[in-house]
Subunit: 419 residues, 2 copies
């Protein structure tokens, strides 16, 4: 039903077209991993000469590298293989969650090149202190990124709450309300790396970023529309339709943890009753399993007990799966996604969660198109996490307009990869 | 977070560009109601000469008309006003619902020019007979459309169920299962109008089409993302995000009537328990109000009784509103739409429904951004209904590529509107 009715608009000027084509060529090489000029020209529909000129500029600015021969191993005259540079512009992703902070630097190819994760209890700590801690970890990650020849051009924060306009409106599990996270983090990071130009900082809900990481780096295959759930301390959610994140009118879409599973249920931190989080959040799971602790170690213990067949642990996870499945049935009826992806701590619990979730969905999806064999319930890939999604968001901006991120001084072309 | 990363693709040839520009000019005149050649040129960024040539072709093919003067009433040399033609290509919309069939013909301007609605009880009637009845009404509408100088170029069916690939997979309230609706309707219509070329027939869920009609013809103002509910015999739903219908992986998105409001509730026709339809569908509403009848007349009686302050009627509508609000709270947490629009029979019940719905949403929307004063709960416009949406879908195809719908023989330019 979609038809292209957007106005064509005035003609773009030459410089704008060239910028756009530089992005197109760079993204084409990235998508193909390795490409020749001729291959790029065929793919994008520009002349070989135009592509060569664009490639020269991208090589000069350090966005691409080339080697003297292809790696196809076939006989004949070797081509010249283009690749995106493993050095130069990069994105920094900073996930701040209830019980950990994870920072990574991602290069133009999307590879996670630097990773620092620290277990921390961020509950009850003043937000400015949490953000200062995260900035400390980020500063160390920056040093390591620079040592690898990377030049992070921006940082993106992944935060477990309602994020909008640079601030956290509400993050119940952190106890945050109206926290200007971007500004606090940027100031703390600038103070720690005064010798460098300040990094632009953006922010986004962590489930949204984990979903984008799953889309970009996970094993979703042809799936372009899915609902993503993070089983962290809270139950985060995100919605991707046709490969695009649905952010909602205020940026608050995806809050499946606060969809009511049972209106007669226990009171939730959000003020409602019987929210999904009260049944399928980590605290509820651990309580039901009789594990008197919190955080990653406790969740690992739950996995161990369920794996050993301990009845109480299995029952706790199964009941969480039943409530997840109940709420997901409603979401599937509303959205008809290709798939539902369970991430975070749910990944390790899939053997006991999945049957209960699938049973509810098979009964509740009105289309009749859900079954245990449909393969529509998936575990998230380990390759996708919110920090990587955040960093990749910065990289996506670079790929969309490399000229804006060219090196500050005219750089010399880097040495050939095989030189 | 959206950035334009689509490949630019090969250059379009001249004929393709002209076709696209014909569409652009036609849509621009349609959007502005009335425009001069100079105004169109300024708006679309093409030269005055190019626009004049495109306008000539659109006048010759009967898509545009012009008058010798503008109607601005201002002094000075009058301009030549272009308008989309009130004759020529049109769309036929055919809504088949449980207790009525409504057919309309919509012209290029989107105006509902012919309308035939019949109250019919379609329950228990074989699907082929229902579709034949609808074809009979459509055939009469076609005769009237031709008499008005309209030339319907396609028919679209609006159907209350899961519609995909030209067939109704399931329409519980009609009792339909796997009904090849497009084919049955097209054959029946062709048999009734054997003297004419057969009309191409398409089909879509009625709530989806009602939502599009609301988007195109309703009073939504700047709202581009909303959830639309039809209060018919069933509770249909549709989801529009950024001005585009979300159809889902199989075309079955929007089934809010089968989102579970209470897992302990009564059994639903779909096989689940406690679906929203069991509380807010017309049958449930009438039963709760003690009205032993069905259909439009019974709903009018419910409105009358609620308006007279009859306690049982008010309580029935309020309770339906409470359950609607409960399910909508979950949907709003998931989707964060600009607005929720209640259509169909809900429109007349808004005085009693709205307070209950708003109360639930105010308590349940985790963003804290729902309140009775937020204006986010709306009644649908009378201007938008599924039949008009269906017809407008056909018109949209014409506007997207007028060349494909030019008159079969080279037409003479129609007389000037003021001649």
């Amino acid at each position: 039903m979609k038809s292209n009715l957007a106005p064509l608009g005035p003609k773009a000027d030459k410089a704008t077209v060239r910028r756009s084509n530089l992005s197109l060529v760079l993204r084409t090489v990235r998508d193909e991993d390795e490409a020749t000029r001729a291959g790029v020209a065929a793919r994008v529909g520009l002349t070989r000469a135009a592509v060569s000129s664009l490639v020269e500029q991208l090589l000069d600015s350090g966005f691409l590298t080339e080697s003297g021969k292809t790696f196809s191993g076939q006989a004949g005259r070797p081509g010249t293989a283009l690749k995106v540079a493993r050095t130069g512009p990069a994105g920094l992703g900073v996930e701040i969650n209830v019980d950990y902070v994870s920072v990574c630097a991602v290069d133009l190819a999307g590879t996670d090149r630097v990773r620092l994760t620290e277990r921390l209890d961020n509950r009850g700590v003043p937000p400015a202190d949490v953000l200062a801690r995260a900035a400390g970890i980020a500063a160390r990650a920056l040093v390591r990124a620079h040592a690898e020849g990377l030049r992070p051009v921006g940082a993106a924060l992944a935060l477990p709450g309602l994020v909008s306009g640079g601030a956290v409106r509400q993050a119940p599990n952190l106890g945050w309300n109206q926290v200007p996270a971007e500004g606090l983090f940027a100031d703390a990071l600038a103070a720690l790396s005064a010798d460098q130009a300040p990094l632009p900082v953006s922010s986004e809900n962590e489930a949204n970023l984990a979903a984008l990481a799953e889309l970009w780096f996970g094993g979703l295959g042809t799936v372009r529309s899915f609902l993503y759930l993070t089983g962290e301390t809270g139950v985060g959610g995100a919605l991707v339709v046709d490969g695009e994140l649905v952010r909602g009118a205020h940026g608050f879409a995806g809050e499946i943890g606060h969809v009511v599973a049972d209106a007669r249920g226990p009171r939730c931190r959000c003020g409602s009753r019987g929210c999904l989080e009260q049944y399928a959040g980590q605290a509820a799971l651990l309580r039901a399993a009789g594990i008197d602790a919190a955080g990653g170690a406790a969740m690992a213990e739950l996995e161990r007990r369920a794996g050993a067949g301990e009845a109480r642990a299995v029952a706790a996870v199964t009941e969480a799966g039943r409530m997840l499945g109940r709420v997901l049935s409603g979401a599937v009826n509303l959205l008809d996604p290709d798939a539902v992806v369970l991430g975070g701590a749910y990944r390790g619990l899939m053997p006991w969660l999945a049957p209960a979730v699938d049973e509810q969905l098979t009964a509740g999806a009105v289309s009749g198109l859900w079954s245990r064999d449909s393969g529509r319930l998936r575990s998230s890939s380990v390759a996708g996490d919110a920090a990587r999604g955040a960093a990749a968001l910065v990289v996506r901006d670079v790929l969309a307009d490399p000229v804006a991120y060219a090196p500050p001084v005219t750089g010399r072309r880097p040495a050939r990869a095989d030189a």
